[in-house]
Amino acid sequence: MSKIGVFVCHCGENISATVDCEKVAEEASKITGVEVSVDYKYMCSDPGQTMIKEAIKEKGLTGVVVAACSPRMHEPTFRKACSEAGLNPYMCEMTNLREHCSWVHEKGDQTTEKAIDLVRMLVEKTKLNKPLNSIKVPIHKKALVIGGGIAGIQSSLDIANAGHQVILVEKDPSIGGHMSQLSETFPTLDCSQCILTPRMVEVAQHPNITLYTYAELEKLEGFIGNFKATIRLKAKSVDPKLCTGCGVCYSKCPTKKIPSEFNEGLGLRTAIYTPFPQAVPNKPVIDKTNCTYYTKGKCKVCQKVCPTGAIDFDRPDEFITEDIGAVVTATGFNVLKPNFFPEYGYGKYKDVITGLQFERLASASGPTLGAIRRPSDGTEPKKIVFIACAGSRDPAKGLPYCSKICCMYTAKHAMLYQHKVHDGESYVFYMDIRAAGKNYEEFVRRAIEDDGVNYVRGRVARVYEKDGKLIVKGVDTLLGGKPVEIEADMVVLASAGVASHGAEELAQKMHISYDPYKFFAEAHPKLKPVETNTAGIFLCGACQAPKDIPETVGMASGAAAKVIGLFSNSELTREPVVAVVNRIASHEVSTCVGCFLCETACPYQAIVHEEIKNRAGEVIKTVAQVNPGLCQGCGTCVSFCRSKSIDIQGFSNEQMYAEVMAVLEA
């Protein structure tokens, strides 16, 4: 026989101003099974809690109903109090007399009646409550970091330095990402590679980091603390254990005219290659789509010249699986090839280039060793035009957002140009200058005031070529829309930042959400910027939206802190509000017929198959089972189950019916 205690809170005057709390307590005391029913001004206060605890002890209560505010606010408070008094915390329920009643109704008898009904419903439910225990899930204290740009590097180092194992997966032959391609960085003009390469080396040498380059995530199963990641190690055709990185192979490779990805097509590479001299690991891979051995069946020059016999043409892709506790997604972004701007002639005129191509021209490790030269004829451009927002803030072309970094890198480009070409003239066509960041505005002013970059406020309508010059037709809106025409030698488009190739596919593999532009979605735009809506998967850097280096690094450390926080416990504690497949009487009996409709309905892949065996160990039946680690307690499976074999713990069908009947019968 249940002994329920009802505790009605006035919440100061929040509830009592419109609800007659004394009457509620009085009426509740008349309900069968209610042992004690009292009201009090502040039930959450110490005396209020003490009142509950004492009632439990003195009256031997089997259940507690607190009629007060939102359970979001104080359910943990009252459950803890019950627990301290020796009652299972899940035998304590809260009904919300404040948001659901007093705040939304006028003072009156009907309002009080509704409050009484709410209490009556919950009393009936609580009578059917069963003691529950929170779920404990073990944690594999190993993190998977996807993407080896500055975000992935920073996150890996932070997690590894906290003493945890990290697996870093990078799809390209080297880590470093876009940052390794940059010449100098705003607003300090630090050499990008000089500050990045030490970090890259640190990653490679860190005892807690396992680095897989030329590798991709193939599959991710499991749940927070208990993921299983399958990683594809693409065949490099070079055995990294034997290779010494001497470089003879790529100096002898006869296929030399492949546009270099690292140099954004402004330089060439061979079919067996390392992307750049400071690559980590500094060992080559063979690009199978361009290697003549793979395409035509002959050559093998690299194999002949390799002094250690490291070339292995026949090795297939390998797959490894790892048990992982958390994932950090740091897959970065891509720079849009502005082919959809036919009016700017990208792709048609060689001297119309993207901002990232300009980075390579300005970089000391680039194809021109840092000298600004026209790709068409190698001459030094004396007049250069930078066009901001080439793709960004352009709903007509499909990208309404601001790419955030272009204003700054364009100012930097113009500045670098002026530093390198002293008699050169530079123009920046812009709409707004977005320089919000520490020392950013000052940096742009420096470009304008000290380096003499001509900023023209207006968008360029078109660019065409005449007599080896690029005619730029722009406008000065600050002069009331006066057309401006510039005969330039080179045009640099500040092309938009877009989601990286394969972002959508990766998101689907990991079951995380993404926005219409394929950038990964954070769990909350303000308060959970590094979490995704899948527990245990975090994100950082430009895979979430275009962002600059300091912001990326900050976010990477933030994601690492979340992982380290998760790993600070040996197990995870979760609310037991999860689905369970009914088991009646003995263990062998389940009403589940094994149709697995629940499996198709479950959005969290929480349904697994369980084989029921007889004593001889033979399988007699396969039924559904819920993995409590994955189940989010949404209840979809319950409504799908034809044999009514699944229930949510704490919210069983029986309990729900009892609540409904209580209000109908009243």
Partner: protein
Amino acid sequence: MEIGFYPGCSLKGTSSEYAQSTLALAKAFDINLKEITDWNCCGATAAHNLNHELAMALPARVLALAEKDGMTEIVVPCAACYNRLTVTQHELNQSEELRDKISEVLQMPLSGNLQILNVMQFIDKYITNRIEEKVVKPFEHKVVCYYGCLLVRPQDILKFDRLEDPQSMDTLMKKIGADSMDWGYKTECCGAGFSVSRTDIVAKLSGKIVKDASDRGAEAIIVACPMCQSNLDMRRPQINSYLQMNIKTPVMYITQAMGLAVGLSKEEVGLKKLFVAPTFA
């Protein structure tokens, strides 16, 4: 084979050579272009500058007449007429209310299913596949193709070629042996309707076009629009005086160039009607 034909006013007057060469070219490929019975002016820029409804009703009558003649397809060489007819048909198809209203004004039914072809689309559909075998006198000249505004814009309605750097004329010219060059003014405006009212503007805008063509060594500017042609050709004295130059680059219709290539005579394509005479051919 017989296809409907809407010459429009210009082709009956100032640009009679365009009509002449189009008809002759079609005939050379055994195609008879049949004029729509009792057609009227499309209203050109004047109507939509002054009265939106009239701008719909005039072209709508032409479409209705063509349908009445039992035509399913009409060739409209004039770019302005092509633009007005296509845009009108699109707008009428978009709004039933507007179509009913215009239909009432006309007292004629409108199905809205007529295929409207500009001259390149016509050539592409009926002539291109036979052109190479028919070319007897390759048009081996350096040319620039001038598309103007009306053939390509608005793209979402006309759905013809790309907006920037269109290629359809260039492709055809290359097929008859021409060296069709890239240049800067393919789709810039020539001044269009200001031919009479603001000759100064025409001289300036057309001047830029003619100059760029001449600077690049073009032997001819190839056009498909009578307004562009008359601005660049008939207004040449004003253009030259604006530029303070004496540019003699002729402005030919694409149908004239193609006609010559397949062996039609200068007379048959109306070459003599050009103000600025081509030095070749």
